[in-house]
């Protein structure tokens, strides 16, 4: 297992997990989200190939009501 920071909370995922694996595990609808890995945006078509490394910081955001 490796340790990452996911939306500000530390969490453990299996080694060689991809962004897509993480989204699936967290039950996030990837259609409505954007992903930032270590301050860089990960394009949607790279979710399945981009693997996570120990210490990575990942932010998964969506749209909410706002003014």
């Amino acid at each position: 297992m490796i340790k990452i920071e996911f939306n500000g909370e530390s969490c453990e995922v299996e080694e060689e997990s991809t962004v897509a694996d993480l989204l699936q595990k967290a039950n996030v609808a990837s259609r409505f989200c954007a992903v930032e890995l270590n301050l860089e945006i990960v394009p949607k078509d790279q979710y399945v190939i981009r693997s996570l490394a120990d210490g990575d910081k990942i932010e998964v955001v969506t749209l909410v009501g706002g003014g």
Binding site: A26, N27, E36, L63, G65
Partner: protein, 276 residues
């Protein structure tokens, strides 16, 4: 002349049918939001970018409720207190909208705040973020105070629209300094009459919206005045009518203010006599 002969609101490359832009925050339920957006007549709505909730998620996204074929989304950078965060949030918003194929992917409502009590903008950070986002290809709709000099600087920095506040966000105080807004409108529109100036914050009720348009604003953006009204759907409808009334009154041309009265009935043919 009537409202159907008005030219549409053009902001950068975006053309909107309604001059009223409404927010999607603070509604008690998504269904109340949906009905209110519908009643407002708006075709452009603002949204915010936030972390996906990993726990306690209801499973329903706001995008399940908003008809993406009907509304252009305008993502904001609300909650950002420095330029770097604002640029980061704007890019994430663009990334979400790109994959939704919504026309709102290339623009952003830039908001860089300086203080959490007043929610007033940080002018220096706002200008820096505006420059960086324009350089990154964004059409920037820039929230600012009602300072005319700042408004001129933001337009010069390439903002697609300057959006001065009527009063602090969510305060419901309406338009506190109409003279500053008049100066902003004059400065930004001289030699560039179609440059869009949108009054962004502080609206409390329908008359505030009409006043903004009567001053010559091209658009009004509001959220709380509808979402927190006792009857949001009815208030949304009031805002729609206030938009049409204020804009039409502006185009019709108001009479000048005079200190003394001028009689509406003819002076000629009076059968009465005067006591002096």
């Amino acid at each position: 002349m009537d409202e159907s002969h008005d030219k549409p609101l053009k902001i950068g490359s975006h053309v909107l049918k309604s001059r009223l832009i409404v927010g999607t925050g603070k509604y008690d339920t998504l269904s109340l939001m949906k009905d209110s957006l519908d009643a407002s007549g708006s075709d452009c709505v603002t949204v915010a970018v936030r972390r996906e909730k990993l726990y306690d998620r209801e499973g329903k996204n706001i995008l399940d409720t908003i008809d993406l074929a009907r509304y252009t989304l305008l993502p904001n950078t609300a909650g950002c207190f420095n330029a770097t965060d604002a640029v980061r949030v704007a890019r994430l918003g663009r990334e979400i909208l790109k994959s939704l194929e919504n026309p709102g992917a290339d623009w952003v409502k830039l908001e860089v705040l300086g203080d959490s009590k007043t929610l007033l903008p940080d002018p220096i950070a706002t200008l820096e973020a505006c420059q960086r986002l324009v350089a990154d290809g964004f059409q920037v709709l820039c929230y600012t105070s009602d300072d005319p000099i700042m408004a001129v600087r933001l337009k010069a920095a390439g903002a697609a629209s300057v959006m001065p506040a009527g009063s602090p966000i969510g305060s419901g105080q309406g338009i506190l300094n109409p003279n500053n807004l008049r100066i902003i409108l004059e400065y930004l529109k001289t030699d560039d009459p179609d440059y869009p100036v949108i009054i962004d914050a502080g609206v409390g009720t329908a008359s505030d919206v009409s006043l903004a348009f009567e001053l010559g604003a091209d658009g009004v953006l509001l959220n709380t005045a509808i979402a927190h009204a006792r009857d949001p759907v009815a208030m949304a409808s009031a805002m729609k009518h206030a938009t049409l009334a204020g804009r039409l009154a502006y185009r019709a041309g108001r009479i000048p203010r005079r200190l003394y009265a001028t009689a509406s009935s003819p002076e000629e043919g009076l059968i009465t006599s005067r006591p002096w």
